[in-house]
Assembly symmetry: C2
Homo-oligomer: 765 residues x 2
């Protein structure tokens, strides 16, 4: 990549930044359609109960109410990864989110009033809220819709992975650490609450959904299955998304419910969550308990990892149950390790269920692994930096799970954050008294994550159609979706760079399944990598179409053409011609052609085999974080001073967008580490509001230092890798390690609240 880049690598304000800050952006909440109705959902009052009766007659007779539905009124398939989730629940409710009726009315107020008029008679039952209780053989079955995959009726999903000879490696190990780690529920806290607008045409049987999904083509198929419709008769239009972070990967009951209301009424219906509903009824990060044993030989080389994970699945199975796919990579392949035994079980409980959340299990896995590494280092008497450097991943490594590290910036990243923080780990010396109260510590953590998609579907590719108009402006139609990660901007930068035009001349269209080429969706930090490569392929096709005419007009050879500054230049003769002029010549003269080209990029990744082995991603991202904290030993308060992030991003495409991803991710990790927890007790959500759910705000953000590691992966666009999830992944681990370092205690759960810190100090004394 010796190419002289003019746009790539230079700071570019997100192309949708202005409309977002001025309020011009149209979110789902802003969708207005003629004759639109307003939907609302009645959820159970109790997490575990039988529904003895459900009387909607009063609600139905309220003026303005167009439709009231219960499970008896609909004919649908169960949804969710395990198809264990009925859209409306009939005789029995299993968790506090459970939808039991829904209303469409001419105003939001009337819809909510109608919910109040629905009379439900419950018989409250005892629930199981602890997965360790639930998994016991004699526990009653929680979910009625499971298939026979597991003998134990409360197991939602089990994954087993192994490599190497565990017993042999154990025997070799001079040092062994065994710990239990408990990771909490956190939720995405999207600023825009969940919303959908459904518009069904009774005359042609077609359904249009203004949706926030981040996987529109899979969503189209899923919602079609739920509604027993043809997928192609459903058009998904993605609205501007006010926060995604993985929460829009799955389909939730409110979505088909809204569609059904529209189908029943023959009118558009809009359904928007309140903030309280958003806390209670949106997905969460999967809460887990890890029992992790790791070993090292006398030189400090890692020997084996043996991990058993229990995931609290909640009452139904969303994507959270599949996070072990990602977690097993961390245990198998982050730092070289000869043997690994991984076993995870997602267990039904009567709690709310977890979905997908940025990092997809990896923050949890990385927390457990990196905490154990610190403990191993302490046992060995080795530096926490040194043990990591010794075991770090390397370029060309093919891990025991089959991941191929075409490039690898792991060691560089570690070295960077270690060198920067080296010597910082000193007590605060400017105030002797203060130093007794305030203890400083440094924590390190690395991470490994897919950086070019993850093959979980027969295609992990992305299509792009580029259309140049006679004025030299471009429409870039990408299959990929913008959920705030800045992909529109990066894709436009790539097209602008290659075609030598100003980015302001590029419009990105990416919201309509009827129009855009197929893409698997936003997940696995794949968009810059996969969609970026797709744009590159499409631009190349465009240039192939444009060049022959340009060469004739410039009396030069095709090989001598350069696209820059809106011109096509002959590097041989110096002659140049405006790009739009050539486009017009192609369109209006000669053979009369349009400059429209479509390209589909499929990464070289492969499905994992039955043993979960295989090179599932186009490339892999690495990062190391070093975090300095100061613990107030009187109050237990942890103050994060500096967060040093070194991340192998392959190549910086847009420094501004990258900084946004890094800072946003780190702050999300900060909340996970210190303050955030969605508290669920006996099935009830106790803090469904921003008063009691402590999301970090601007005032809480420490100094964040970012050091991009450019490994220039030959498969990535300009060498780039995905960056979206990585920055969040090691933050909580590094903070926990820093707190442990500061006050010499074990930190085995999150969040590290002042209460926990004080208790740990007290227990130690």
């Amino acid at each position: 990549m010796s190419k002289d880049l003019k746009i790539i690598g230079k700071p570019q304000i997100k192309i949708d930044a202005n409309i977002r800050v001025t309020g011009e952006a149209r979110f789902g909440h802003d969708v207005q359609l003629p004759n639109m109705l307003y939907g609302a959902i009645l959820r159970t009052k109790y997490p575990v109960a039988d529904i003895l009766s459900l009387d909607t007659s009063k609600a139905k007779s309220l003026p303005g109410v167009k439709c009231v539905i219960t499970a008896n009124d609909i004919d649908t398939e169960n949804i969710s990864y395990r198809r264990d989730h009925p859209i409306l629940k009939k005789n029995k409710v299993n968790c506090i989110r459970d939808e039991i009726a829904a209303v469409a009315a001419t105003s939001k107020e009337i819809a909510l009033k109608a919910l109040e008029l629905i009379e439900v008679e419950y018989k409250i039952n005892e629930g199981i809220f602890d997965p360790f209780e639930s998994i016991k053989k004699d526990s009653p079955q929680i979910n009625d819709f499971i298939d026979g995959k597991y003998e134990n009726k409360n197991i939602a999903e089990n994954f087993h992975y192994e490599h190497g000879n565990l017993e042999e490696e154990k025997a070799k190990s001079k040092f062994i650490v065994t710990e239990r780690y408990t990771l909490p529920r956190v939720t995405h806290c999207c600023m825009a609450t969940s919303n959908i607008t459904a518009d069904y045409s009774k005359t042609d049987g077609k359904l249009t959904l203004w949706s926030t999904t981040q996987v529109p083509f899979l969503y189209q198929r899923d919602i079609a299955r739920a509604l027993k419709m043809e997928p192609s008769n459903i058009r998904i239009i993605q609205v501007v998304i006010g926060g995604g972070f993985g929460s829009k990967l799955d389909m939730y009951p409110y979505e088909p419910i809204c569609a059904i209301l529209s189908i029943k009424c023959g009118q558009p219906v809009q359904l928007i969550f309140s903030r309280e509903e958003e806390f209670i009824a949106s997905p969460t990060r999967q809460p887990m308990v890890f029992d992790l044993t790791t070993g090292a030989d006398e030189s400090g080389r890692f020997t084996f990892r043996d991990v058993k994970i229990i995931l609290d699945n909640g009452a139904y199975t969303s994507w959270g149950a599949t996070t072990p796919f990602v977690m097993m990579q961390t245990f198998s392949s982050l730092y070289h390790c000869p043997a690994c035994n991984f076993d995870s079980t997602a267990v039904y409980t009567n709690n709310i269920y977890a979905g997908s959340f940025r990092g997809y299990g990896n923050p949890q896995a990385t927390f457990a692994l990196e905490r154990n590494i610190d403990l191993l280092a302490e046992q060995i008497g080795m530096g926490k930096a040194e043990i990591r450097l010794l075991n770090s991943n390397y370029q060309g490594e093919v891990t025991n799970q089959g991941l191929i590290f075409n490039t690898c910036g792991h060691k560089d990243a570690l070295e960077k954050v270690i060198s920067i923080t080296s010597g910082n780990n000193k007590p605060n010396t400017d105030n002797k008294n203060k130093s007794k109260r305030y203890k400083r510590g440094i924590g390190y953590a690395s991470m490994l994550h897919v950086g070019g998609g993850a093959k979980i579907y027969p295609s992990d590719g992305c299509g792009t159609t580029l259309k140049l108009d006679p004025f030299g402006y471009m429409t870039l139609i990408t299959g990929s979706s913008e959920i705030g990660q800045g992909s529109e901007t990066v894709l436009a930068m790539i097209a602008a760079e290659e075609l030598g035009i100003d980015i302001s001349k590029i419009k990105v269209i990416n919201t309509d399944t009827d129009i855009k080429p197929w893409d698997v969706g936003v997940h696995a930090s794949r968009t810059s990598f996969v969609a970026g490569n797709s744009v590159l392929g499409a631009v190349n096709k465009l240039k192939e179409k444009i060049s022959p005419t340009a060469a004739i007009m410039l009396k030069t050879n095709i090989e001598d053409l350069k696209f820059e500054n809106g011109q096509i230049v002959s590097v041989k003769t110096g002659a140049s011609i405006a790009l739009d002029k050539v486009i017009r010549a192609i369109h209006f003269k000669g053979n009369h052609e349009l400059c429209i080209e479509t390209y589909f990029y499929e990464p070289s990744s492969e499905f994992a085999d039955k043993e979960f082995k295989g090179n599932v991603s186009g490339t892999y991202a690495f990062a190391a974080q070093a975090i300095e904290v100061e613990v107030d030993t009187y109050t237990g308060n942890v103050k994060v001073l500096d967060i040093h992030v070194a991340q192998d991003i392959g190549k910086v495409l847009n420094p501004l967008g990258l900084a946004g991803q890094i800072e946003g991710g780190v702050v999300q990790g900060l909340g996970y580490a210190l303050t955030e927890e969605l508290i669920v007790e006996n099935g009830y959500v106790l803090n469904p509001n921003f008063h009691n759910y402590k999301l970090p705000t601007a005032m809480d953000v420490p100094r964040i230092h970012f050091y991009p590691i450019e490994t220039e992966d030959s498969l990535g666009p300009y060498g780039a890798k995905g960056v979206g999830e990585a920055p969040l992944i090691p933050t909580a681990a590094a903070i926990a390690n820093a707190v442990a370092d500061a006050i010499g205690v074990k930190i085995n759960s999150l969040p590290v609240t002042p209460e926990k810190v004080l208790r740990a100090i007290a227990e130690k004394c």
Copy 2:
């Protein structure tokens, strides 16, 4: 075309029919955007006046008013074909339509109230309402924005065409007829009134227009020029159109006005005409006076035509002034004619101005020519059928203007309607008394019209992008537009036919300039021909992509593949495979490709030269109508009994859509012939409502008999030609000829009102 067709030629309900009849279709009136304002326009109170003062202060201070603009507030270019039309008029008004101020407010009611509060002081001036007065040398100049093209300042446009030796042919002529014909103003009477919604983003400077334009890409360029913007920063989204008929070919002041209101307010603005406004301020068919002399030799062969036309241009120049382009074809080339002298002058007056209207001058020209033919036949003593058959056009003819009749159904069409009506022209014999009062007559008329576009722009082509999804459904993105003519349906039929899939599996996308490939727009009966060929080209590319994989899967040769019933079949082995399965194989296996292809079709037509000669259309349509009428000689009422239409449509694509075009066109011709006239006196529109403007309704429709003539043009899709304008063109001429035949008078103007009939009978006696 021996191909066995499964869909083409079979009746197909329009794919947008259901949503139109159930009210689900979303017209411009249904567009709703967040924070949308409502616009209204203040027009002059007097057709000709100086504006001495214009005070908007009271209007501006009305609560809810966001913006009031006058000519002083805007910086725009003049619009219209001759750039003689300021968007808002400043010191002087020239016709009753003139826009002098505009308002945007939070409700329609407030906007209208604000108009009332604008104080205008006028000095009323004398106007010129007769083009023959206006063209006099000493007449005052009407339009202040003309260029110096013509010495006479009141000439808007002059066209001169000639071929052959007029004097020689005159000398040869044994029979000569000279007449003056006066054609009235009629208007389109679209059921949906004019509307636009403008949405300007202050942050990114982009403007989106929900527009009814029928030429979106030219409109984008025109509105950009008016607003001094980059065309590519304007996105045109076409709403469902409730009646077009050519009225949406030009841009009118209300459109940039609405855009300016949105730009000034930074909010969306919607502007919708009232019905009265629609009558007063929409375009009309060009009113004209023809002085026509035609000759024939002793055998009845036509020798020459000499025509001078004065067009009442109104105060500004819309497309009406260019109708001579079409009219000269009728005089030069309908029926073989050795010499032609054509001279037309569009003259400014203080009347309202005319735009484009289905037929584009041809109903007027055909009326004049066909009336003269009847008079020639009478002079010669020849049958009115015979003289037409004798002179009819023929296949392979290259007319003196350079039109090439690759196929020609003129004579077949004439023979059909003549044979059907032969012997019908008898007085009503079942009641002797009645027969004295009621006189029956038969009239014939032919027409020639472009049937495959008209080269008026460097490209007359159309692009198509076809996208197949993994379920075998197709998105057909066409550059062409649907304005009610049924083109979406025909294009979907073509794709369905070729790909062997059900038409319900095809969605047509055709409303967004950012997305759809370029097309010149809906005019000149070009869409089925040009866009149809474009779809054929794109389907062929798709099949080329699909076939190799299908051949491998079926273990057969590519040449042996047939696409039918959603399957790909090997005609050799009989083996078959579902199309969607092959699409998935291409997408999800092997090279991983999408089935998306784009094709651009450019017809072989050429620009006319300086002498207006050249083969400007891909093909030409012909028609003959024979109409039987009964005239009540006591009341003057004309009752149309039967309308026989034989039209060379090349090939029937959709019999239902074709019938709709034929019937709709004929009824529009019926209104033009008998009842419709927009009465303008001293510049005022006297009948701006459906009470006094007599549009035919269902009760007025006679029996219409349609005989398609299938000439199967080798250049048309399946042999088809354009059909949209033709059915209207000869109807008024044939009705006038029938009335003349029935009561033995001359009919030299339209509409043929009872009053005119009675007066003619009285004058004859």
